[in-house]
Symmetry: C2
Subunit: 458 residues, 2 copies
């Protein structure tokens, strides 16, 4: 019985008999020898076989043989599938150890050199073995289950998984509690538009556009909460940035001084994401040629009004009085932050109240501005956050000022009737973070099975 | 400027001036002294004040004073809000440190002893300060944002958060990759019944009942994947066990020998959950008087047919030929496992194929039985899992045998056309795990804002 060894660990087993299991990534047949490249979750390994190997690419194989040093093979070693060295395969890698356990002595019984675990009955949509991806995005998305096997297409998701782990580790370290909140809600309070309707036992329900109201209410319970989960936006826009479902990394914390305490926590969360990406997804980053930028100990920040003035002074465009930043101006600010502060990140604070949701806390000194922020990552909005209102009376006043009926917000307001501390929070779009980090032009490249105006499968 | 100290850390600061911030949990006024119990995320602390404190419970307060040893106070110390010792409060706990930083010397400027951060304008639905919960479940659920502040009602969610962290840690250690899959799907393939319909840009979509098909397809990409996320069931049953949305801890792994390798990984995941609950949620467990049971190194397992025989022999009921286990028989098996094996857990393997989904792998020797399992935790099904079919031809045959049209499964089958290894997986219901662990009779007690046939808010 021979244990499975992962491709990346092959060089550690030179001279031993081992079993590889994976997909036939690439096959080359010469006159008297076949070269098989086997792909598994760890990488690629070469197998040399002194017989024909008439299997199409993506066939699932296990191969038993002796590990031989070969400077020209990936990692400096290859598997020689030699009948004299063959044992009987069939024993799985110990499932629960996860370790690439070393080889064990054979029982001496010869078995097949190459065993087909599953046939590939259709060719992949494009050659998965080519170093560059020879396909356009629609082809990739239409055939995602096969296409994502391409190492360059899989890599962003390994980085994303590491980033999420880093987000959680940072907030766990700050005594946050992870929560799971409903995605089915009875009222579309945050924004009436862009919401998906659900037939809920004959009633009308909606898919939550964010856990905003729940995470605020839970500040009253846990003080500090985070959630990693799907949010839903019925985005009628067909852009490279918008999806009908994405993964939101949400955090909310109580007993803040103002939005700056929220920004300090966001900085820690981002630093955790970047550290985890570098530490846990090094191979994926190297494959994509991506360097993880440093998150400054203090991320530079400019006030919205100051940002407008900077843009006016440097670009000659007069943007005073505008209530938001145009994408081109966000890009300009991103370049400015890199040039002036050596930072890929820039906080823009104090967005006008007119453009922020009703629960946003105004700036006490300048009530037309808010205690909110966006975080730009390389000139693109990655995070939105801020301090929220916390007094019940302030909510009633804010809704009245906007001509909204407090009755429609009764469930939301209930939490504030029972005493809520000053608090704030933020939401990071995971797919957007991964796209900015890896340089993907379209957020669909960093979403496993994206959903949008046109796409509901696979 | 005086830093915030958490209630649980008060005893470490005897003799120092500190600031507490939290909710007024309980107030008692004597002739010349007021006792305030302040609740924060860490626990409770007592404040002694030589003046009236006319605030209703749940008012959000910060109090500055000197920590004094008092064996009768919770933790052996209390805060004496003494004007001679007062500094100016207002500085927040350093938001991003999370540490309960020590006190710093005052500037000498006197400030208010007690500052109201937010008023409680309505009384809570019941007294949150009573050790036992003086309310029935419907009251608790109707008023969740306030009710969950009760330490006994909050505790299960601290245990759940720890359990999820342990699940991820165990699978991360086994080289699983975390994934995020769509909750909006175009076809209700797994089961036509109990599915929520969504209006998707004028088309019909459905909420995913599980990530089953995605996680299988992703075995082809990552070999080993897990997801923690919401799943949706339009359960028309009003029971203590069923919810319209719950949190599913899903895992799937490739290159398994059979379902036993899946069971071995599940054992590790559960052991991780139990270790993390004990290690990270000790205070919550102690409050509820819950001991975390050991997960045996090898969880006992009985085959379905053997289980039926045991039930028949011991209870006198003849259940042979039945295709499933009745809840009463699951309970009996749970007691049997505790008695015979000293285990709170029991695997029942080999359920009849007739009761398992089409993708279930049959037992090669006895094809009427499956390579699937349920895991009973204290006599209740907690986990379902098994080995899946992996060959494209086997899927076509399985669908044909059930009279299903393969065209309806085209998107699902695509992954298997490209070579999929032998694989299997499982799904743990998080709320159900927490309920079994804490002894909650109703899964709604371990769901933050449950959704069911009748309930869509708060």
């Amino acid at each position: 019985m021979i244990h499975r060894v992962l491709a990346a660990d092959l060089p550690r087993h030179v001279g031993s008999r081992v079993r590889l299991a994976g997909w036939l990534h690439r096959r080359r047949e010469l006159k008297s020898v076949s070269f098989l490249v086997i792909r598994d979750r760890s990488g690629l390994a070469q197998v040399v076989l002194r017989e024909p190997a008439p299997y199409p690419e993506e066939t699932v194989l296990q191969v038993t043989g002796t590990v031989v040093a070969n400077p020209q093979a990936p990692g400096g070693a290859e598997l020689a599938a030699d009948p004299r060295a063959a044992g009987r395969p069939g024993a799985a890698e110990p499932a629960a150890s996860g370790a690439t356990e070393g080889p064990v002595p054979s029982s001496g019984t010869a078995g097949p050199l190459v065993e087909v675990l599953a046939e590939a009955v259709e060719p992949p949509p494009f050659d998965l073995y080519r170093p560059a991806v020879p396909a356009a995005l629609p082809t990739i998305l239409d055939h995602a289950p096969a296409a994502l096997r391409h190492p360059r297409l899989r890599a962003p998701f390994e980085i994303a998984a590491a980033g999420v782990a880093g987000f959680r580790a940072a907030l766990d370290g700050l005594h946050f509690t992870e929560v799971c909140t409903p995605k089915l809600v009875g009222t579309a309070t945050e924004s009436g538009a862009n919401v998906f309707g659900v037939d809920y036992f004959g009633r009308r329900a909606f898919l939550a556009q964010s856990p905003q109201f729940f995470k605020q209410a839970l500040v009253g319970v846990f003080e500090r909460v985070y959630e990693v989960g799907p949010v839903f936006r019925a985005e009628p826009h067909d852009t490279a940035r918008h999806l009908a479902q994405y993964t939101s990394l949400d955090a909310e914390l109580g007993f803040v001084r103002d939005h700056r305490d929220v920004m300090a926590v966001l900085r820690e969360a981002l630093a955790g994401m970047h550290a985890a990406a570098a530490g846990r997804a090094g191979a994926a980053l190297a494959l994509l040629g991506v360097e993880v930028p440093e998150v400054p100990a203090e991320i530079p920040a400019v006030h919205f009004a100051e940002a407008q003035e900077l843009i006016g002074r440097h670009t000659g465009e007069d943007v005073r009085g505008e209530m938001d930043l145009a994408p081109a101006h966000e890009r300009w600010l991103g370049e400015w932050a890199r040039r002036e502060h050596g930072s890929e990140f820039l906080f823009v604070t104090g967005y006008p109240m007119a453009k922020r949701p009703f629960y946003t806390h105004p700036d006490t000194g300048r009530p037309e501005f808010s205690r909110s922020f966006d975080l730009l990552f390389r000139g693109l909005e990655l995070v939105t956050g801020g301090e929220r209102l916390h007094r019940h009376g302030d909510y009633l006043a804010a809704l009245a000022a906007r001509g909204e009926d407090p009755e429609a917000y009764a469930g939301y307001l209930a939490a504030f009737a029972h005493g809520m501390p000053p608090h704030g929070g933020f939401a990071i779009g995971l797919e957007r973070w991964t796209a900015r980090l890896t340089g993907a032009a379209n957020v669909r490249q960093t979403t496993l099975f994206p959903r949008d105006l046109h796409r509901l499968s696979p």
